[in-house]
Symmetry: D5
């Protein structure tokens, strides 16, 4: 079963739009939205396991121009 996470992203004041475009194209990003509130973008990411997921965040999302901070919230199945 794959691992999923919500990635709460802060972006530089005037670069959120381009950052969102770049995030949307990253493989594993199932959906991503600009959002109102304290975060600028929220992405829902899926990967084969938590390590692959971490690599998407660290190597892909955090290296995009304008992304200043990410907070990864890993989904857990607690049924």
């Amino acid at each position: 079963m794959p691992t999923t996470a919500y990635v709460l992203i802060e972006a530089a004041s005037d670069k959120a739009k381009n950052a969102l475009k770049a995030i949307t194209k990253i493989p594993g990003v199932k959906m991503a939205h600009a959002v109102t509130g304290p975060y600028d973008i929220i992405a829902f990411v899926e990967a084969s396991d938590v390590d692959a997921l971490g690599r998407v965040v660290l190597s892909k999302i955090r290296t995009i121009t304008g992304v200043t901070k990410t907070l990864t919230c890993v989904a857990i199945d607690i049924r």
Copy 2:
């Protein structure tokens, strides 16, 4: 076009599990996960417009036992 939002939810330390069960059953909640990190549950909610969305959060999610705080991040289409 419907309005969507990520609702970041904090729950009482020992009630997150039951709160998640109740949230999952609310109409309009498209997905909801227990998550690691500073929030306890994240729900992705869809409604006909932002007012309907607000009613889901205020009348449904925030009245569930164990839910102590919610932060609604409304998705915006910025293309």
Copy 3:
């Protein structure tokens, strides 16, 4: 010229709806909305001067059941 202020209000998780109703009826409250994000309600208040404004917040808004915190941001004309 009257003084105006935005009052950013936090409310108990399950009482925001009734608190908003009560706030809307307070004389001097020109508009009030439930809002998404870290605050629950924002009210735009007008009074004859800053003292009258303070009395609206302290004697009226803060004594409403469910209101837990208020942050008054007084508008200033800087033209």
Copy 4:
């Protein structure tokens, strides 16, 4: 019915005045004030829907010189 929001804005210490002037001229900004307290400017914005509203914030307000942070609080009708 249009969507409205309060946009809480932080501005660079010495640029709040010019930022406010520029914000006031943006179509959709119904009112905007310099304010006392933790935020520097609060704008009340109206748009056809939440997406149009998001575009006003991201493409117009956040690209103004001196604006360093925005927090959009979308109004919801909970009657």
Copy 5:
């Protein structure tokens, strides 16, 4: 030369008014105001030295009903 301090005071939502009345009567409190913003009351206190000042805060201000938190900012002459 006496020591002075600004005491930034938080008060329970519905008790700020009576707390202010009580604070105003404390010997050494040169002025005190209800204020807008994150604090509820600010008092300017004068005492013979920093120890006497601390006693005013701890034994007088902090024991008043409705006072929940105080932050004492001691004035220093840096000329």
Copy 6:
């Protein structure tokens, strides 16, 4: 009746001393002290009304070299 406010000021680590000197000379600043605690300087300001007060903070205090942040707490007469 004039309007008064406490302005809580943060200053760059090595510029608080000169900033205080400059603040003390601003018309309307009734007293100003370097202080211990989370703020660096607190000024007590008086002006004819809240707009004039806002202009003192935005045009005078916030443009002084070394001032990095201000938080204006407007005094309100709640008797």
Copy 7:
């Protein structure tokens, strides 16, 4: 490969000692220490996958008397 996480735990002021004892006995908790600083206890937990890990935190750690808050930091292999 199993999933591991650091769980940063806050405990009621006078119950940290007993909470630590109980945490140490939970299967999957590889090590746990009382610590200095803003957290009271840090536990290093191992489970078969992120869901099993989440269940340890939610069903075991968060239900222990004296545990008031947990922050789970999932380890990710980014080599």
Copy 8:
């Protein structure tokens, strides 16, 4: 060589005075003061090693009536 630490202590609004008295009597507490600012009491503690020091904080300081939070800052010799 013994281990030392500064323990930054928050106390209930009206119990700081008695808490300080009790803290002063704890063996290993070399000095303790009521202080201005965000903390209420700061204690300088010495013990044979970091474990003994932790026991002083957890078993002695944190069990005193009125102590609500402690933050232990262990001194390190970095010469």
Copy 9:
């Protein structure tokens, strides 16, 4: 008995990967992981005593390129 600590590390958005590699090679670092949540890396460090431990953090970890902040949580044996 050696002293151990969890070091909670924040790293520049695009340098966490290389910082982790460098941290892993530091003598005394028993394990280190990139992690999800508010911190970027958590290292578990062992040294002969608390002073040696402090030197590892200050002279080794904090001088690595990309490390912006560290929070050392010293383990204490409270049995």
Copy 10:
């Protein structure tokens, strides 16, 4: 009777060591330690009165290279 204070100091990530050396040499600094936790250095300072103490912090400690923030907690004798 002299006035004393604990000065809680934050330092740039790689300059804490040299900053501590410089702080230790300042007249009036009775002891100073690098510490674990959210602050980097804590100094215990003694001066003839609170004004002299403020001058030590503002003119001496805050002008040292690498010192980014100070929080002065003045000791008060509340017996």
